[in-house]
């Protein structure tokens, strides 16, 4: 089948990474929008969560779909990492990069592992088990300095991952054009910083006692 052959090819796998990455960015947008209610009050956030969970079908479809997209992104990414390590079977004695600012692109697998660890711990902490209401759970979680720090460090990892991921996604889709490249360049700083600001300020809000 053409689709199997396509996703087995090198460019096909790039596409799978870019498409799943695109859906994950959309998920981040909706998650950030929901979380932004916390800037108003925990009560409003709780009301938003209650409203969301009053539609179990939507929650079920979206959470399963999200799990699938995550799984595809992780499996393909790991496969690419292992295949590429084999293709570069022998390295050089002097390891040097000719391009500047290559830290994010060279460490995608590692920032990805940090994010996976974060996602596992985060869903365990807020979604599974009986922790009481979500508002109470996050108030309790973020009252701990270490938990807050872990969240903030993970969000920095997310920003680094996105700073390469967003541009790389567009390049894979073939979007590389002199008219738009300077905009894309700017967006690959703005988008990661935006998410870092929205997500990162929530633990800070609770840590400094202004969350209520």
């Amino acid at each position: 089948m053409w689709f199997i052959r396509f996703i087995q090819s090198s460019i096909g796998k790039k596409w799978v990474m870019a498409c799943s990455g695109f859906f994950l960015i959309l998920f981040l947008c909706s998650h950030a929008a929901g979380n932004a209610t916390l800037f108003s009050s925990v009560a409003l956030f709780q009301a938003y969560a209650n409203q969301l969970h009053s539609h179990p079908l939507i929650v079920s479809v979206f959470s399963k779909g999200l799990f699938l997209v995550f799984a595809i992104h992780i499996v393909t990414g790991s496969l690419l990492f292992l295949q590429n390590r084999k293709a570069r079977s022998q390295g050089y004695r002097i390891h040097k990069r000719a391009i500047k600012n290559s830290q994010a692109s060279a460490t995608m697998i590692y920032s990805g592992i940090i994010l996976l660890l974060f996602v596992l711990l985060h869903t365990y902490a807020v979604s599974f088990g009986n922790h009481g209401t979500i508002g109470a759970t996050i108030t309790r979680l973020f009252s701990s300095f270490f938990v807050s720090m872990f969240y903030i460090i993970s969000f920095i990892g997310l920003a680094i991952h996105l700073s390469h991921g967003f541009w790389s996604m567009l390049q894979t889709f073939g979007i590389n054009h002199p008219t738009y490249n300077s905009l894309i360049q700017r967006l690959s700083y703005i988008i990661p910083l935006f998410f870092l600001l929205i997500f990162g300020s929530i633990p800070l809000l609770f840590l400094f006692g202004t969350g209520q």
């Binding site: 396509f6 090198s10 596409w15 590429n84 084999k86 050089y92 692109s105 590389n176």
Partner: protein, 252 residues
């Protein structure tokens, strides 16, 4: 230009044949004129080695004017050495200082087996070209020049891609050993022009499939290829190849 004489320590990868295990050997060279090219410096080394009855260092070279794509080695971790948009034969010794130690390694990738010392087998690139890097031309009377209208900007883009000399530095420097800049340039140069249209889809499919079969890695957009390319080929060509391949694969 004022030329000086410098002394160098060279650490060169020596490997007897494709089956042997290689290792680095250290050589000292004195009185190297800064007006020499890198390959001329290696010639001087080989003369000394031959004079002492030792095996000279094998390295590829042909035109020595930066247009054939035969030469190439990794100098202190950078393919074709530290100067941007320069092949090894056009790299001059004035870019190095007296007393420098230069580590010289062959272009490496799983798809580039080493023949001997710095000579690598880059025939995988020829097989990518054979798979689709051509246009079919009908026989018949000689057509008039310029009968096919091609916008100047398009011709320039095609020419930018066609500047690729197929040296393999992009693959050698890619952290993934991927050949996407090479294949992207070769697909682009033809798909941009009217003459390349009849085989456009078939070309994209065949060349990418061959590239994957030859054991090159997967591109993860690290841009290292573009930074070392002696002809300044842009990764815009990789983006174009992605579009060409996806169109060919999805829409046949």
């Amino acid at each position: 230009m004022n030329t000086k004489s410098i002394s160098l320590t060279l650490e060169i990868w020596r490997q007897k044949d494709s089956k042997s295990k290689g290792d680095f050997e250290t050589y000292s060279l004195e009185n190297i004129s800064t007006g020499m090219s890198f390959l001329e410096m290696l010639d001087v080394l080989n003369e000394t080695l031959t004079g002492r009855g030792l095996d000279p260092v094998a390295f590829d070279h042909d035109c020595r004017e930066g247009i054939c794509g035969m030469c190439g080695a990794v100098i202190n971790g950078i393919a074709h050495g530290p100067e941007p948009e320069t092949t090894l034969c056009q790299l001059h010794m004035r870019h190095f200082n007296d007393g420098d130690t230069l580590v010289i390694e062959p272009f490496r990738s799983r798809a580039f087996p080493i023949h001997k010392d710095l000579v690598t087998d880059r025939s995988a690139l020829d097989r990518i070209i054979q798979a689709g890097g051509y246009v079919s031309v009908n026989t018949g009377g000689t057509p008039d020049g310029n009968t096919i209208p091609i916008p100047s900007a398009t011709a320039e883009l095609s020419m930018d891609a066609a500047a690729c000399i197929g040296c393999g530095a992009c693959i050698a420097s890619c952290p993934n050993g991927a050949a996407m800049l090479f294949t992207g340039a070769k697909i682009s140069q033809l798909s941009l022009l009217p003459q390349g249209q009849p085989e456009r889809k078939q070309r994209a499919m065949a060349m990418v499939t061959t590239m994957d079969k030859e054991g090159f890695g997967n591109c993860t957009n690290e841009r290292e290829c573009e930074a070392v390319c002696p002809k300044g080929i842009s990764i815009t060509n990789i983006a174009r190849m992605n579009r060409e391949f996806v169109k060919a694969a999805m829409l046949g």
